[in-house]
Amino acid sequence: MGQAGTPQLEHRIGGLERDYDSGHISYDPDNHARMTKARADKIAGIANDIPLQGVSLGDDHGKLAVVGWGSTFGAIHQAVKIARDEGRDVAHIHVRYLSPFPRNLGDLLKRYDRVLVPEMNNGQLVKLLRAEYLTPAESFPKVTGKPFRVTEIAQAIRKIT
């Protein structure tokens, strides 16, 4: 498609389904299926442009990975730090890209015996991880409207390790 302002290339961009080749409005069922796949592939392809998942604290393998996202970073990080000081084999992984996940996330999680997912909802990330990687990740939700305390997460880690 041409840049706006280019003669002969006038086109319309919008929310209606469009033909895979011409870009014109299309009501064809097979085209819709093809376009749905094309859009999904486009999203999935973002995984090639985002950083690989790293480990915030601890080793990239071991007994337990505590996987968090968003505002829980501080509480998880400190709890893992305390647990590691106690000699426990635990790591902190903080996911920053959720859709798509980083390409190496599935393999990374497989290198731990268990995966614990504390999050400030009723288990949204843990369900995604389980669905995406068939990993038996364990949920540690908190929906009281108050943030995690370091001791809560540290206690959960102690129960597992």
Binding site: A4, G5, E10, R12, I13, G14, G15, L16, H24, I25
Partner: protein, 96 residues
């Protein structure tokens, strides 16, 4: 910045219509509006590649698809974006 006015007096109303099938309910007033706007474009001699039509949500918002200009069929709040489009790439003929 110099703003030059470019017009195209050669175009007829039908030249502002795209080749897309117009899908509105029979009897809908939007047909008349579409025709009127296409005629207005011809009367004003708007240059197609320098014109952008921008619409929001709803069946009336299918409007840009039926114009042979540039167009956005997008969410509510589109006009600010369209203004940017019009100032950067087109002349100044923005209709929302």
């Amino acid at each position: 910045m110099t703003v030059t006015t470019i017009t195209d007096a050669q175009l007829a109303p039908k030249d502002y219509a795209s080749d897309q099938e117009v899908r509105w309910c029979p009897g809908c007033g939007d047909y008349a509006i579409l025709k009127a706007v296409q005629k207005a474009c011809a009367d004003m001699g708007l240059v197609r590649e320098r014109t952008v039509f921008v619409s929001g949500i709803g069946c009336a918002a299918r409007f840009p698809y039926y114009m042979s200009t540039y167009g956005f069929h997008t969410v509510h709040g589109a006009p600010p974006r369209s203004l940017r489009a019009s100032s950067s790439r087109t002349q100044s003929s923005t209709s929302g």
